[in-house]
Amino acid sequence: MTLVLEAAALGILTGGVYALMASGLTLIFGVMRIINVGQGALVILGAYLSFAFSRSWQLDPLLTLVITMPLMFGLGVILQIIFIRPLKTDREALSVLVTYALALGIEGVLGYVFTTNYVQLRAWYETASFALFGFHITYVYVFGFLLCIAILGALFLVIYRTSFGGALRATMLNRTAAQLIGVDVDRVSAIAFGIGVATAAAGGVVFGITNAFNPGSHYDLISRLLTIIVLGGLGSLRGAIIAALIMLVTEDITAVVVSPVWASFVFFVILVVVLIFRPQGLFGVRVRDRI
């Protein structure tokens, strides 16, 4: 029983990090109706940027977010303008190809600059832990979860308490109608893409502290992130958070109770059952209705 509770606690904490990584993906889909299959590569790019800055300037990895998040935001805006904005027809299908090419490009550049050897971010809290109810809770997972709450909280504030958030929600509801009432949807889309890429930097730094990674690590990541946003409902931020927690808790408990081999299978059973009864996902009522 102790092991199950410990696995559940771990699943909740790591689920927060996956929620952070998936939030950008679902936000981008909600605003632009595109599937950014390059999100995993952007997470890894964020991890490498933190790795480079922490190594060069002896910075704590989490502190590097002060630099990497604005950088990645800017990169996201540029990528949207150059690669996504020109897609005028058949955006859903073409965006998959374009963002996949983007992922391969990022992987190639990272491989050239950093080689394909595995690296890992180092910090004092990566192995330090404290005892709570007989468990050893590791600081890095707590910090990652707090980071997730802080960033997703800020994201909710921007979306629901600012005029830009109003324009964003209008674009998500109906892009054409938003244009008709004067919303600059191109600007909103570029900023939304930038925010989505900036959240990848935040997810990347925690991923990079808890996992050894190399430029090819994005393949496993993107498959998990896509699964999360499908379960949560494409375009739903709340859904991404809940689905990430369900995924990680289910997998971790299955891994310790049954077998690691069955961990993903059990989650996919849940996913299939949910999609049979709610094809739009847990919170996806209609993907453009709300986030």
């Binding site: 696995a7 890992q120 997998e251 891994a255 081999v261």
Partner: protein, 264 residues
């Protein structure tokens, strides 16, 4: 599989045989009573762990836990928790480098100190491994290995000096993978001279006979390409910031540290 050759000192499934021999040779007061195993479902790692489990069980070491996990696993902490809860005397892990590092970190997080820890790959990656787990936390970790920078095998001095000259660092920083790749070059070089050809068919024929000298020792290949009669796979252990041969005594540069020191 007549045309594929494996240039390592032993067939994969035998990589942990030396380790099991060492454990079973310990005095009865020190000999482990329980072992925990976890391995990727990988053709390189699982056969090693399964053979070690069979040998140790036959030698009276009870299996406290045995788990196989998919190679695509990214979150290793739940697996590590299971090993921790098994609280076995020794832990044997069928890892590649990312999971080797993740298990070490998870054991530190959980304050779990097995008497012995061996991982099939990871600790043999030199500085690359030490950088990820922290130099102080490498102490006592073991890995099956057939090569060290100070080995007196054919061409090793040249390989080490040229590697350091080209890539910098110290001999102890060199990954065993680099040594294994270099050995492949040595074998192909000698086979092509012997066959007086670089045609595949001629090379294959040449490789199925004779002995080839490498920095991992002399080796030859059986009809299926498995290495035969090489120096065998030994046990390497991190001691004082460097990986050293510790078993068998005939090649050992130091005595095995047992039990492994606690994490720093």
């Amino acid at each position: 599989m007549h045309s594929i050759f494996f240039v390592q000192p032993a067939a994969v499934e035998d990589n942990l045989v030396s380790y099991t021999k060492w454990l079973l040779s310990l005095p009865s007061g020190q000999k482990p009573k329980t072992a925990a195993y976890a391995t990727q479902d990988d053709p390189f790692t699982q056969p090693q762990v399964d053979k070690a489990k069979t040998l140790l069980e036959a030698g009276g070491v009870t299996t406290a836990s045995y788990k196989v996990y998919p190679a695509e696993t990214t979150d290793f902490t739940p697996l590590a928790l299971q090993v921790v809860h098994a609280n076995a005397d020794v832990v044997i892990l069928g890892t590649q480098e990312p999971d080797a590092v993740a298990f070490v970190k998870a054991f530190q997080q959980q304050h779990y100190n097995p008497k012995s820890l061996i991982e099939t790959t990871g600790p043999d990656q030199g500085k690359d491994f030490a950088d990820k787990v922290g130099a102080g936390n490498t102490e006592g970790i073991m890995v099956p290995a057939g090569w060290t920078p100070d080995a007196k095998a054919y061409g090793n001095d040249k390989f080490v000096s040229e590697f350091v000259a080209k890539y910098g660092g110290a001999p102890g920083d060199i990954s065993a993978d680099a040594a294994e790749a270099y050995s492949v070059g040595q074998v192909v070089d000698q086979a092509s001279k012997k066959a007086n050809s670089i045609e595949n068919k001629a090379l294959i024929t040449a490789l199925h006979s004779g002995t080839y000298n490498t920095i991992q020792g002399p080796m030859s290949f059986d009809s299926s390409g498995k290495p035969q009669g090489g120096v065998g796979v030994y046990i390497e252990q991190w001691q004082g910031g460097a990986a050293k041969f510790v078993y068998p005594p005939s090649v050992a540069a130091a005595k095995p540290e047992y039990p492994k020191p606690n994490w720093q």
